[in-house]
């Protein structure tokens, strides 16, 4: 019994690999680390799936779409009884992003996040830890703005190849 449940849980995780972030479409919800848990309960011969997710940023407008897409993809695979639970604690961190996710981000032209403990502080005008240009790999880059096109990104420019780029900032 336990074994069948484990197989189902693993299958649901695999299905969720097909759900992408609508704003950074190269990343799946698994790459981002926003799916925290999958639980399956048996009720009247039907499997009830609970997917536990956590938002990246409080105001991330993609979360509603992500919730809907998770429900849709599970329905397509025959899971009709789906509950999606949102938790806030422990708070999401870029440290939960997978290595595969970081590679995909870089290939997409977005610099992946550095380990967070080196950047998240209140010290003013602090030197940023070197962020690598996703285009020419130079570390000779500078921050243009702490806030970018989405809540999770900052704007950078490469001093060598001159290309501007997004940096998935630490959180």
């Amino acid at each position: 019994m336990k074994t069948t449940e484990n197989i189902s849980v693993r299958k649901v995780w695999e299905i969720l690999e097909g759900v992408c972030d609508p704003e950074v479409p190269v990343l799946t919800v698994i790459d981002l680390g926003i799916v925290r848990d999958v639980k399956i309960a048996k009720a009247n011969e039907e499997e009830k799936i609970e997917v536990v997710i956590t938002p990246t940023y409080s105001g991330c407008p993609a979360m509603d779409v992500i919730r809907m897409n998770i429900r849709m993809v599970l329905m397509q695979h025959g899971y009709n009884n789906v509950q999606i639970t949102t938790i806030l604690s422990p708070a999401w961190t870029t440290d939960w992003m997978t290595e595969a996710g970081k590679q995909k981000l870089k290939a997409y032209g977005i610099a992946p996040p550095n380990p967070k403990q080196q950047v998240c502080h209140t010290e003013l005008f602090a030197e940023d830890e070197a962020v690598q240009c996703p285009h020419c790999n130079s570390y000779n880059t500078r921050r243009i703005s702490e806030f970018g096109s989405t809540a999770c990104k900052a704007l950078f420019q490469c001093n060598d190849c001159q290309e501007p780029f997004d940096y998935f900032k630490c959180y």
Partner: protein, 275 residues
Amino acid sequence: MTKDTIYNYTLHLADNALILAQRNSEWCGHGPVLEQDIAITNISLDLLGQARSLYQYAATLMNELNATPLPKGAPIANGEGQAGLATEDSLAYLRDVRAYKNCLLVEQPNGDWAQTILRQFFFSTYQFFLYQQLQRSTDATLAAIAEKSLKEVTYHLRWSSEWVIRLGDGTEESANRLLNALDELWMYTGELFIPASYETAAVEAGAGVDVTALKTHWQQRVNEVFAEAMLTDATAGRESTWMQHGGKEGVHSEHLGYILAEMQYMQRVYPGCEW
């Protein structure tokens, strides 16, 4: 601890975040440069997200309080939505000005860039110390929201502090604009540290933060940033300033009514409309 206390306390935290988000969003498309237009609206979005989490929690509490929902069509000044049940939307869109519990600081007009920056700096500094404490609340939901939001507020605090320094230590004009902003806003900072009745009750229940104890931290941080901004003397002699208050108890400046008129217009005219 009564649910009523936590409901009012949560609503106060939510209203602060929502009204400042609404104010900052007025800059959308009007920022001094593109990057800073994006920055201020990003901050708006973070605050709106925090407000949503808090309103969702407040709605749950309210619905538990009102075991019997109000009849459909009953007066909606207190935020009950369709069928008498509160939702995050009904709390934001269907409460009147006297039911809002935000502090006066967040409803003050944007003014020029300096005034917007200084308002954000004063509020982010306050929110930073507040959420640090609220993470240890005995109320698990409030603690989780604080833990999550603190990461965002850390960015807001750093950004607004750097801008205070940039303006204060910039040109004669930028420094003058910041000093004018200080004249406009200083009288609204005292209220942050004067607890409303529900704040005192929430502290006694172990769920809330004692705002009176935040004042020294806040003042110290403001002094540090002002010193960097070459404004060391700017707050001197202001201890005697008459501090405006009342917002947290629903007595607002004339500005909030106009904010709500614009923000709530669609839901008031087309109740329940979605897009």
